[in-house]
């Protein structure tokens, strides 16, 4: 580019950057005044600018240091031989490469050989990425196909993440390719790979990195496909930008890349078809179909050059082979083999033809017989870096539910449809079940997106709207979408399914649901996305007629998220009964009348949706712990309920927002995965400022609650919230050495260290009610300390002298002696604050003289209690739990994302740390005041599909 043009580019870029992001493109189009070169330059730079993110934010010396550390890490596990990782005893190293080292190990539990792949640390440093990988590995391990390598376990031990898998004695295809492979053997290998791919694709998993190095051939000719989904690990966390990831692909892998990969498009199963085509070609021809002297030339060849026909090399090859290769290496993927199964079928057919001698094929001799080659096992793992692909494949696996009575859905295939970081809500499936609309976050606000089921690219339906759009609902004929918008005037809008012709239906309301004839919409006056949020005003249900705009009231008692029954008779909704913190479901005639209650129990029941045949009402409920789907048989005419609710079964801890296709064979929902991890940051007690940057102590999918650092500062004890139990666990201060102290079906909560760090006191329901228990830090010597706490005992604190334990029962606090052996110790109640308030003690001061805590019941705020003065004192507003610094004079606590320090003598309260977006929970401080720690809660919601037709 010449300097003159650059000046204009730079100036225009400047002007564009001054505008809000969404106006830039149009501005550039206008301002470039027909100069396409100028326009394209500026637009591409704007794109790069928005993608660059943290690019180059780390200084060069740090980058170089990390690269150096990485090199060292990749080669530093030599010493693993002879060591034990989990159940595996490492015997010898098999290979190493960009994706980590591989060892031969012995599984001591099951007494079998295993290959252990140690993942380089930087690949698993990102918890989200690691978790995605783990999920996929689990999906694959369920497949159990003979041509797929069996994954035994994805584990972690001693700070190392590893994959334990079937040990295959054989060679990689790469190592066999010193010369060409015979036609017969090439077809045998390729068709086994195609078969494995077909199985994986049926399960929704795309390999993304098919190449010679990932295909193992056993000495008996059996083929095993390796490293499924590993390519995903190298994807930028939450970054779905092809150009970026693609730049990371190394030459070795590049040659196997499909055109869509090379041009950075979304990847699907047809990418694997292409790559297998390349592998087949290379086996037969001894050269790659698309190859260049450098990256650019290779990419160009992939995108535009035609592969030389196989028969140009060897006229003796059957003509059918060229047509198969043509079909596999078709650049336009819609014209390629659409499935690996089709590819497999053609390969098989050709093999049969050759075997019967009908083809003119002439057998080649194997340049180097692999059957006779060394049997020494060697797993050669991707010397080259992996091709990194854009877009995220979807994962799916068979769904098993505990109750077969829950019928069809137990047999349904389960597919993940969206995979953006963050949240996608309110999916609505088109009646034909082929596409869906949902609300997702874009540019800081909620927008509606349309996506094809099985497709990857969502279309933004509501561009250029600074307002929030959500709660979309397809009309019964699929031609229109109703939704809630906060634009002026806020209310329910209707548009065509293409996003065009948006018009206001009614200037109020949330959660629209269509009448079966598409003429009316029922909505609630209050929007509630979760069942725990109570609004002061009860929500009413109204029906609006779309043509006339006439409104009619259905009910004024609390009712939200209505669902119109498929034959039009009734509307289902959920409501919060007065003075109860849970919710229930009811139905009401759509012409008006009396409501009939569907559920009335202790569980939280919400989000009702009719099955398309009108026979069942589906709903979300936590009646068995997790928030999952249930259904109950119901009479659509009368609302009468038949029988008990039965579980539909969706294997995650939080599910909501159901939507059916018209034929009832597809069901969409939102699945939310939650995790909570420990973060820490240095602290200077003199300046009362944090030092350095906060860093993760733990990263992973655990739900950690209220961690407490041990007196020696070496480990955290915490409550781990698991599917249907709460356990106590410890982890080292550096995030390694996880250990469960308890792991059983009971709920163990609020662990605290004894002052000598040897024992832990906690509350547990293991005796029926919640009582206070103590246990050694190594999990031995469990003892019950309190008895007969009808109202439940909780929140124990160990006194600094180690002799007493304080706990809470109801709204009162008690103190009990620990040392009394034999007889059941009796607890003494403590004074309470005046005015009927209650004090929740959270931390005992190191000098033993005070308790820090929170006021509740008729009072609120953070404060402390002095034993000597028998006096309570409030220091600040807020609800967080304060902890003492070592001087027993200052307290720290968090409130709404900020951390505060309070001095009980000067009464000064001062914020000193802001975690920004992240909420600070369970703030704690090390004994030496030099380290603050807290938990950070994250959740991710994705849309999933249950499909009976798959």
């Amino acid at each position: 580019m010449d300097a003159e043009l650059w000046k204009r580019v730079d100036a225009l870029l400047d002007a564009a950057l001054d505008l809000p992001e969404r106006e830039r493109e149009q501005f550039v189009m206008r301002a470039s005044d027909g100069n396409t070169r100028l326009r394209d330059e500026v637009l591409s730079l704007l794109r790069a600018q928005s993608q660059a993110g943290h690019f180059m934010e780390r200084s060069a010396i740090r980058v170089a240091a990390r690269a150096l550390a990485r090199d060292a890490n990749l080669t530093s596990h030599e010493s693993l031989t002879g060591k034990t990782l989990g159940d595996y005893r490492v015997e010898s190293q098999l290979g190493s490469g960009g994706m980590g080292e591989v060892y031969l190990a012995h599984d001591s539990k099951l007494d079998r050989k295993a290959a252990l792949k140690i993942l380089p640390r930087h690949f698993v440093a990102d918890a989200e990425r690691a978790e995605r990988f783990r999920r996929e590995a689990r999906a694959l391990s369920a497949l159990n196909h003979p041509n797929l390598i069996t994954i035994y376990e994805v584990g972690e031990a001693g700070g190392l993440h590893f994959i334990a898998m079937e040990f295959v004695a054989g060679r990689t295809l790469r190592s066999m390719l010193d010369g060409r492979v015979s036609l017969k053997e090439s077809l045998a290998i390729a068709s086994q790979v195609a078969e494995a791919l077909a199985a994986a694709h049926r399960a929704g998993v795309v390999h993304r990195d098919i190449k010679q190095d990932n295909i193992m051939v056993r000495s008996d000719g059996y083929v095993k496909l390796l490293d499924f989904g590993l390519a995903k690990l190298t994807e930028g966390a939450g970054f779905v930008d092809a150009a970026q990831t693609q730049a990371g692909a190394a030459m070795g892998t590049l040659a196997y890349m499909s055109p869509e990969q090379a041009s950075g498009e979304a990847v699907d199963q047809r990418t694997d078809v292409w790559s297998l085509g390349v592998v087949l070609y290379e086996m037969l021809m001894g050269r790659k179909p698309f190859d260049g002297v450098d990256r650019r030339a290779t990419v160009n060849a992939i995108l535009s050059a035609a592969a030389a026909p196989a028969r140009d090399f060897d006229p003796a090859l059957p003509a059918e082979l060229d047509s198969i290769l043509d079909k596999a290496l078709e650049k336009e993927r819609d014209l390629r083999y659409q499935t690996a199964a089709d590819f497999h079928a053609d390969l098989k057919r050709l093999r049969r033809t050759i075997d019967s001698g009908a083809s003119s094929a002439r057998q080649r001799t194997v340049a180097k017989s692999w059957a006779a080659s060394s049997t020494r096992a060697r797993l050669f793992l991707a010397a080259a870096a992996l091709a990194v692909l854009a877009a995220v494949g979807f994962t799916l696996w068979r769904l098993y539910v505990s109750r077969p009575a829950a019928q069809d859905w137990a047999r349904a295939t389960r597919v993940q449809l969206t995979d953006q970081p963050g949240t996608e809500y309110f999916p609505s499936l088109a009646p034909d079940g082929k596409s869906f609309v949902y609300a997702g976050r874009a540019e800081g606000n909620w927008n509606l997106f349309l996506q094809r089921v099985g497709g990857r690219n969502a279309t933004l339906l509501t561009p250029d709207t600074p307002s929030d759009e959500s709660q979309p609902a397809f009309s019964p004929d699929g031609s229109r979408i109703a939704f809630r918008s906060d634009r002026e005037p806020a209310g329910i809008y209707v548009m065509e399914a293409t996003g065009e012709n948006v018009r206001l239906a009614v200037a109020e309301g949330f959660h629209p649901s269509w009448s079966p004839d598409g003429k009316e919409i029922v909505y609630s006056t209050v929007g509630r996305d979760t069942p725990t949020v109570r609004t002061t005003v009860p929500s009413a249900l109204w029906v609006v007629h779309l043509e006339t705009g006439a409104k009619r009231l259905l009910t004024q008692t609390d009712a939200v998220q209505p669902s119109w029954s498929p034959h039009g008779q009734r509307v289902a909704y959920w409501f919060m009964p007065p003075n109860v913190g849970r919710s229930d479901i009811a139905t009401i005639p759509s012409r008006g009348g009396d409501a009939v209650v569907v559920t009335r129990d202790a569980a939280t029941n919400w989000n009702p949706v009719w099955s398309p045949d009108g026979r069942f009402l589906y709903f979300a409920s936590d009646r068995r712990g997790d928030m999952s789907f249930w259904r109950v048989e119901i009479d659509e005419e009368t609302g009468e309920v038949h029988g008990e609710p039965e579980a539909v079964g969706t294997p995650s801890t939080f599910n909501r927002h159901l939507s059916f296709s018209r034929d009832g064979k597809r069901l969409l929902y939102v699945q939310t995965d939650r995790q909570s991890n420990i973060k820490a940051v240095g602290f200077n007690p003199k300046t009362e400022k944090v030092t350095g940057e906060p860093f993760w102590v733990t990263r992973g999918d655990r739900q950690i609650s209220r961690p407490i650092l041990s007196p020696d500062g070496r480990q955290f004890v915490m409550r781990l919230q698991r599917r249907s139990q709460d356990d106590l666990g410890v982890v080292g201060r550096d995030g390694t050495n996880w250990r469960d102290i308890t792991n059983d079906q009971f709920f163990d909560r609020y662990p605290r260290w004894s002052p000598d760090g040897r024992r832990i006191v906690f509350a547990s329901d293991r005796s029926g009610n919640y009582e206070i228990w103590t246990i050694n830090a190594d999990g031995t010597d469990l003892r019950q300390l309190t008895f007969d706490s009808e109202r439940g005992a909780s929140l124990p604190l160990w006194s600094p002298d180690g002799r007493q334990i304080l706990f809470r029962r109801g709204f009162l606090n008690f103190i009990v002696d620990v040392d009394k052996t034999g007889a059941r110790p009796s607890a003494q109640p403590m004074p309470t604050p005046e005015g009927g308030a209650s004090f929740v003690p959270w931390d005992w001061s190191p000098d033993g003289e005070k308790l820090a805590g929170t006021f509740s019941v008729n009072a609120s705020g953070v404060g402390y209690y002095s034993f000597a003065e028998r006096k309570f004192e409030k220091l600040a507003d807020g609800e967080a739990y304060p902890v003492w610094m070592s001087d027993s004079r200052r307290l720290i606590f968090s409130n709404e994302g900020k951390a505060y320090v309070a001095d009980i003598l000067t009464k000064r309260v001062r914020p000193f740390f802001d975690a920004g977006q992240e909420q600070i929970r369970s703030l704690g401080i090390a004994r030496d005041d030099r380290l603050l720690y807290f938990t950070v809660y994250e959740s991710e919601s994705d849309i999933w599909l249950l499909d009976l037709q798959w």
Binding site: G97, G98, A243, A247, M251, G692, E693, R699
Partner: protein, 189 residues
């Protein structure tokens, strides 16, 4: 910390900026030591996330190489510029010589691949970045200087502004545009 006195170090930098290339050879070991120290910190941490209390050490590491307080600089800005260029030269040379874990033709791309596993480390192929920066300097000298000062020199926006005698807001804008340009260069296949 350094076997060289800060005066000597300063003299070396001045000598280098005056055109004495051999001065760089004597400076390089210092940077390498610092690099290895940082690398060992990175290695010592068990899992992802951040490093315990080392961010202060890492920030603008080269500044640690020079005892700023002990040196009275007539032209602080000039010195920053020289030091940033020194870091660039030494680090890029280092990247060029770095022993490869992998074999063969792929080696050149390995660091970039590894780097891409963490999105913010696209700049980690220092060789490629250096080349791209060379290209940028041909059409926009100021932007390339800003990148040199910020990325290689580890200077803050304010310090960069001081060196270039422009407003910090200008530095920020130019930095952002330069990043976009480089990002695009490094992204295109």
């Amino acid at each position: 910390m350094s076997p060289l006195g800060s005066h000597e170090l300063t003299e070396l930098l001045v000598a280098w900026s005056d055109g004495d290339e051999s001065a760089l050879e004597r400076l390089a070991p210092l940077v390498h030591t610092e690099l290895r120290r940082l690398a060992s910190h990175y290695m010592s941490r068990e899992r992802g996330g951040h490093l315990l209390q080392t961010s202060a050490l890492i920030n603008e590491a080269y500044v640690r190489l020079i005892d700023w307080k002990a040196v009275r600089w007539q032209n602080r800005a000039h010195f920053f510029g020289v030091a940033a260029r020194m870091m660039r030269r030494i680090l890029v040379d280092f990247a060029r010589q770095r022993p490869r874990v992998e074999h063969g033709t792929e080696a050149r791309h390995i660091s970039l691949e590894g780097a891409l596993t963490v999105t913010d480390e696209k700049g980690s192929d220092l060789l490629a970045l250096d080349e791209a920066l060379e290209g940028l300097s041909k059409i926009d000298e100021r932007k390339s200087r800003i990148v040199e000062l910020r990325f290689f020199g580890g200077l803050s926006v304010e310090e960069t502004a001081e060196v270039l005698k422009v407003a910090p807001v200008t530095v920020m804008r130019e930095w952002s545009k330069a990043k976009a340009w480089l990002y695009r260069e490094l992204s295109s296949p």
